[in-house]
Symmetry: C2
Subunit: 208 residues, 2 copies
DNA sequence: ATTAGTTTGTGAATTACTTCACAAGCACGG
DNA sequence: CCGTGCTTGTGAAGTAATTCACAAACTAAT
């Protein structure tokens, strides 16, 4: 299959979230034009995005909402449950572990790790914070699909090495460093400082 | 000045974080090639990014680290302090309010708002959670540059309307909805569910 | 001085992404 | 069952972003 751009995947994700809202409102069909308006894009973009995976619409009518939702969930791999481990039991780790939205979308947090003796052993909801030294052993027993890395910048490269060794192929990285991983490991970065700096840039350069 | 792509601004931000690390190590110069390796890009990309703002390097030698850092801080508007208000005193809001990294980079959290009576009046570090109904009044007295919106999806459109009315021109949005704002307001979205879905997609479509 | 070895800055070429524009398909009304 | 009004799917055209590739500029060594 043709390579799919990251921007496309982001939009698919966005469309899905709109469709779920629309489904709750009870609407049966939606046009590419309406989806585009919701997502701040164009109808041609919506149709092109979807057409990369098949043709799901009916000409003259639009897209059937439940069918398209289902199709998008399938494309995005949301049919199955993904097992997630969180590494770093700080503020961000805690906020993530408790966020209900993940489980709803099939991302199940199954373990939390840290290297701080203060934190190890603490209970978080139904989980206990475990020493990071146990990660590899644990991973051999239970399978993890995704690692969320929320460690201080200085520890992150070492932590990521360990993660890669366990065979985990997807990392969501909150640490403000660029990860170096083998090409078969997918990384997504979330970097608050970078987002704020983007806003700072926009504020500083208005009107030129 | 030519319009600068968001991807470029992201990279500038990234370069700056590397330069700060390098500066601490005491290195005086760096080549576009080394910066590229750190940032997972190409040397041509680095040079092109920088050349949009001037020519800061010395041929045969590279870039002087402190000078380039300073220049990037200036380009990104990090010379001044930005006043930030956080709206939504939930998990994410709390994690952000306490994150030390912001202040270091000149983003000063000066107020926190919520509409939940349980939360209003609670003290957070040096701040007190205020009722969101006071936002507009407060904004008239103290100036806010940036609003961080971390409210539940359903309240977000109304909250954003209020934010826009105060004259704030930059919003960092954590709510999983697409904001509709006037074109002179800059929005950056951070959406954890979307990032995880991107990883889910990658895991589901390996090797085709 | 001259030469060898680097590395920048930047047009040109390439690749990737988005938008245009229209034939083809479908629903509905008469 | 034919026409009217919509809306999709998609090549072609247009933009935008990235990479190539090389002259120009600098250092250091001899």
């Amino acid at each position: 299959m043709k390579r799919i751009a990251e921007s496309t995947v982001r939009r698919l994700s966005l469309y899905l979230s709109f469709l779920e809202g629309i489904e709750r409102q009870g609407l049966k069909t939606i046009s590419s034009d309406e989806l585009a308006r919701l997502g701040g894009t164009t109808s041609a973009q919506v149709r092109k995005d979807l057409s990369l995976f098949g043709s799901f619409g009916k000409r003259g009518l639009g897209y059937a909402v439940p069918e398209l939702s289902e199709k998008l969930r399938e494309i995005l791999g949301l049919g199955k449950q993904w097992r997630v481990c969180i590494i770093g039991a700080g503020k961000i780790g805690a906020a993530l572990a408790r966020y209900r939205g993940f489980a709803e979308r099939g991302f199940i947090v199954t373990a939390v790790y840290d290297n701080d003796h203060e934190k190890i052993g603490k209970r978080w909801e139904s989980l206990t914070v475990r020493p990071i030294s146990e990660l590899e052993k644990d991973a051999a027993k239970q399978h993890f699909d995704i690692a969320v890395v929320a460690t201080p910048a200085e520890n992150t490269p070492a932590v990521v090495k360990q993660v890669v060794r366990t065979g985990i192929k997807a990392i969501l990285n909150f640490a403000p460093v660029q990860l170096s991983v083998p090409s078969d490991v997918t990384v997504r970065n979330v970097n608050m400082a970078m987002e704020l700096e983007g806003l700072s840039f926009a504020l500083s350069n208005r009107g030129d």
